[in-house]
């Protein structure tokens, strides 16, 4: 997917985010949680966004969906979905787009289901809201079809959320997101609360469905080791900014940004010799008063005077890799 990183295939890009700035108004000031983020995603692509809590990855997802909370706003930038600008689109238009074309699986999807409605009612509701001419029966049939797609038996249609396990609830949420055959599926930590085996089966399911139905995925998580395995392209966010961007496998082989390296060095491995791993010293900055220059400089083992003097640009390192660092580590580790 090098083409779309370099931006030469603009017509096929499912989503293009350009210089997006968004954040939250608080009593202490404006917290810019997403600061000048640009990315693009091709049709059928799988983009992973990695970052720790508070790095702005969820805000980015909500900004794309235009679902930001009341105290939050998009300051500037563009979100082009199939070439159509979403920033500033009237809410009535956005409502038509949401779920029908861009769907989302939320962070605590397990608690996002309505406890007093059956699975079938909730699934069909999504279809009926967007397809006023659809009959209830048709919506239910569609619900059955989607449930079967995520390996849930049709007799679960009458079940209530409390009768399902965590993994099943999460699969119901995925079925619901796919009800209207969206072109883009945004998943915000969809497997974080699940056990590894269930996580694995859900990820395999999403991958199968993506190949079958051809939608694009944005997968957001703090678990870089998981993302490296499942994404085509990976964006690493730190303190509201993308610090490194590139093909997942290559990013794992040779991370250029010290933060990406630190993150990679934060996951013990299942195989190979055990050596002492570093992790990253310190903690993420306060976004109310981000440090001058590079935001990672206070925690960076390589930081020099220029790092806190001047903010590094996200520059093209070749081969579709972008990195925002004054001292990128280009040699292989």
């Amino acid at each position: 997917m090098a083409e779309e990183i370099q931006g030469t295939e603009k017509e096929t890009a499912m989503l293009e985010v350009r210089h997006l700035k968004a954040g939250y108004g608080t009593l202490k000031g404006f917290v810019r949680a997403v600061d000048d983020v640009s990315l693009s995603l091709a049709k059928g692509g799988f983009l992973g966004i990695a970052g720790e809590s508070g790095c702005g990855k969820s805000t980015l997802a909500y900004a794309i969906m235009r679902l930001l909370k009341d105290n939050a706003r998009i300051e500037s930038g563009e979100v082009l979905f199939k070439g159509r600008e979403l920033v500033g689109l009237p809410e009535s238009e956005m409502r038509k787009l949401r779920w029908a074309e861009i769907a989302m699986v939320f962070q605590s999807a397990m608690n996002a289901l309505n406890p007093v409605l059956s699975v079938g009612e909730q699934l069909s509701d999504a279809a009926l809201a967007h397809r006023p001419d659809m009959k209830k029966k048709e919506a239910m049939d569609l619900a059955v079809e989607m449930l079967e797609l995520v390996d849930i038996n049709a007799d679960r249609l009458k079940s209530y959320p409390h009768q399902l396990s965590g993994g099943m609830k999460q699969r119901v949420m995925i079925a619901m997101a796919l009800m209207l055959k969206p072109d883009l599926l945004i998943m915000d930590e969809p497997t974080t609360a699940l056990d590894v085996v269930v996580q694995r089966t859900i990820i395999e399911k999403i991958d199968d469905l993506r190949k079958k139905l051809g939608f694009s995925v944005i997968f957001i998580t703090h678990d870089l080791s998981l993302l490296v395995e499942i994404s085509d392209t990976l964006a690493v966010m730190y303190a509201g900014k993308i610090c490194e961007y590139g093909r997942a496998a290559e990013l794992f082989e040779s991370a250029h940004h010290p933060y990406t390296r630190g993150l990679m060095n934060s996951f013990p491995t299942l195989t190979g010799p055990i050596s002492r791993m570093g992790g990253i010293e310190g903690h993420a900055p306060d976004l109310l008063a981000p440090p001058p220059g590079c935001r990672f400089a206070p925690r960076c083992p390589k930081a020099g005077p220029e790092c806190s003097a001047r903010e590094p640009e996200l520059v093209d390192m070749g081969g579709g890799r972008l990195c925002a660092c004054h001292k990128p580590e280009v040699s292989n580790a």
Binding site: G262, R276, I280
Partner: protein, 353 residues
Amino acid sequence: MPENNSSDILKENSGAASRAAAQGAAGLQPSAAPALELKSVYKHFPLRGLSAHGRAVHAMDDVSLTLESGGSLALVGESGSGKTTTASVIARIYEQDSGHIIVDGEEARPFRSRAEALQYKKKVQLIFQDPFGSLNPTHTIRQILERPLLIHGIVKNRGELDAKLNEILELVGLCPPGEYLDRYPHELSGGQRQRVNIARTFALEPEIVLADEPTSMLDVSIRMGIMNMMLDLKAKRGVSYLYITHDLAGARYMCSRIAVMYAGMLMEVGPTDEVISEALHPYVKLLKAASPAPELGLSRGRVAAKGEIPSLVDPPSGCRFHPRCPYAKASCSESMPELREVGPGHLVRCFEV
């Protein structure tokens, strides 16, 4: 119980970071009594209410473990597998239904006096998972840390108390201590709070530390710092760890031995490297295949797991894993396999191994 064959267990020399770091303290004599032994411990929680009909949650069934003095044992399992119950029973938060818990060669019995309880709790300390919920938000760090010191009579006077507080905060890397003592938990980051938790644990100089997923609620980049600190503390203080986690790779980093729990029962116990590299039990194989491991290449193939963890109220007959096991035979649903030794210090609960 086969695994108290301690001379075999002590041949643990596969190079985990813990051993490299803990060489001094862990250089124990093979004759030393294990720090902790569980012999066939059962713990069921009765259901309440009209529809309970005498049923119970089988949180621990026939759990037998040995933790060598100065050793480290990872208890790995998915949520609801009974690992936290195991820690709670060892910490005497719950009394087991049956079976024996032996600490330092002495059987742990229900406490008959406060003195007995204090004596036990000084030896066995617990680090909680949630650094946000386990510190009293209305107390300063000083109040939180001095309480166990005063209750256990570790310090005699104000001067000793201050020295001790400084010492334990420095031990967990909160320097200078003066900067932290008068702050409240909400003024600290998650990682710092977990350090306070660990400082409180080590304040009593325990022999056994039960760490219940100490890093799972922390940000990724600071987990390693906490894990490394725990390895260093183990080397410095010579404690024994029971490290509870759901992360196989983390278990491998922290511990020389591993016990994998599923639906309230131990499925495989052995040297960590051996169990992870050559998993014998089908559940452990599944867990390993499902764990993220980018270094294994990006397309390891499908895991294709079926089913989910069974209800512990009505656990499956026979082997608890048989409904999900790709190798299950008819006999697997009829009787429960024993946890039997298949190699030095390596035990597996499976008919097919």
